[in-house]
Point group: C2
Chain length 363, copies 2
Amino acid sequence: MQFLTEKDIDYIAIGAAILGSGGGGDPYIGKLMAKQAIKEHGPVKFIKAGDVPDDALIIPSAMMGAPAVMIEKLPNGSEPAASFQSLEAYLGKKAYATISIEAGGINSCIPIYTAACLGIPLVDCDGMGRAFPELPMTTFSVSGVSSTPMVLCDEKGNKILLETIDNAWSETLARTATVAMGLSSMIAIYCLTGKQLKDYAVKGTISQARAIGEKIVESNKSKTNPIQSILDITNGYQLFEGKIIDVQRDLTTGFVRGNVTIEGTDVDKGSTFSLDFQNENLLGMKDGKPAAITPDLITLLDREKGFPITTENIKYGQRVIVLGMPCDPFWRTEAGLKQVGPRYFKYDVDYVPIEELARESGK
Amino acid sequence: MQFLTEKDIDYIAIGAAILGSGGGGDPYIGKLMAKQAIKEHGPVKFIKAGDVPDDALIIPSAMMGAPAVMIEKLPNGSEPAASFQSLEAYLGKKAYATISIEAGGINSCIPIYTAACLGIPLVDCDGMGRAFPELPMTTFSVSGVSSTPMVLCDEKGNKILLETIDNAWSETLARTATVAMGLSSMIAIYCLTGKQLKDYAVKGTISQARAIGEKIVESNKSKTNPIQSILDITNGYQLFEGKIIDVQRDLTTGFVRGNVTIEGTDVDKGSTFSLDFQNENLLGMKDGKPAAITPDLITLLDREKGFPITTENIKYGQRVIVLGMPCDPFWRTEAGLKQVGPRYFKYDVDYVPIEELARESGK
């Protein structure tokens, strides 16, 4: 039996923000919450998907909404457990454990917070292997699991329980509710059996995030460059190096939609990189040609220290490295691409795996 | 013990649309639903508020949203019972009876439909004594009763349960959900004890609606004018007679907001009447001076037959009579006017009871 301690939270928050492909929220708030809960309630049991009984109830715990808002509209701390326990009460059954719905900054930490508060284990897996902007974009949904019953709670004390006819309706109704609640909410969603968890979850993402985060922290202590270690752990590619010269953002739909333009420096001097995001980074173009395409992961790192920069923290003038990493093979299936491929997000490009794009560009 | 039969539905639908002050929806759809349910399940028990035990559970049943939409987006018929029974299941208690949340066209009929489908009585009362556009505009809310837990269902099969911190949040969250559901939903809301019902409801509105409707139908049979009978039953005033020369409407917020201009004919030749509405008629001005002010009732009648014209059915060229009727005394208190008076709706006028306005204008 492993346990997650306060130190692990630092690592996981950093690593998950890298896997989060720019999304999943700034880990800062989630990290503080999870560390405080561990301080108060003790370390969190950290188990493998294989350890979960087939008939156990698993309830993922997450934050929904525009991550940028969470920086100013802080949770009151009771919402994650409130939504989780409301769903338990509705189902008339206690949950065996919780998981991350996505590997992303705040949403790697919220389930640890919930697990600590409720004294239940966290399972080492998630429903995306990265972060994505919409509720149906989980391996669970594409495998036929209903997102509802789900519960949303806000920091004021309002609570909403949804039962929908499909996960697209969950996205519509939960999104409008989240916008009305002030652009963020805490949710309990995608109730799973242990069997479904074992069959459909992306396994090992939380320990992978921890390994990445640990490398970055250690490299900073030893003044070495962490980039190569991250590429090794994730089978990734350094796509670009440069300086941010423009950022466009729009929050009105409950997402952070936007684009960032990076002017090449060093090895990429003379080139330009354009990155489109909708909470998460979705399409990276180097000099007008695709360099990485959703569902593959695209993450901006601070060039000096290797820390991830989530989409709401992108600023003019930042020196960055763009990483590209292959997604879980599940997303490269026809059903996967239909839900999270470039055409879903209205980009007029076909998906090409990052390995092929890298080979073509001679990386 | 009284029963409501198919014939009563015709009368109630007409009368409630007159009490509805232009709102509460075109009774047509609700009438068809209620009559069909009575045909299928038999007459509905019709009881007095005084007959309800103090500790009984009463759940009002209603339609929420823009009435104009209901004409095209028909209910599938299962939503009223679905929302009602979901709320019973959530509370773990069966309801003793249902009531109308408002006296208005469709919302006088929906509870009869629900009562018929579920085999429970309808109580002769409502929560407004007229119709109003927003959830907190009930005598229950102003008396401190929570609108939640409440359930919303749409015709597609989506279901939402709300628990809010106050009734203003219920309005915000239920309204955005209703808009997302396609601008209309069926709701179960304002769970009451029998004691609360007896203390706070406006009593006798359904039988008053029936009496008004019966007068209009009978007058049409005997080719006599029903206006005076309506004025007698409601203590009302004929405010204006004329022809509609302009209608403005906007549906985007989930309400029907608008204004109608009426050019005087007959006794009002040379005068102009302007009527503002937000689902319901709220402010009537004759030649620039207030003639009736919310919460007093303002209703347009077809000049020939005396049938009510709800706001979504107002059309250019209609020959109409404008009726004004005093509201329930509850709304004339400071707390009542704060919730439904003219200043709440952003009109820069003070409330003056219709009796005084009539006296001033010499009616």
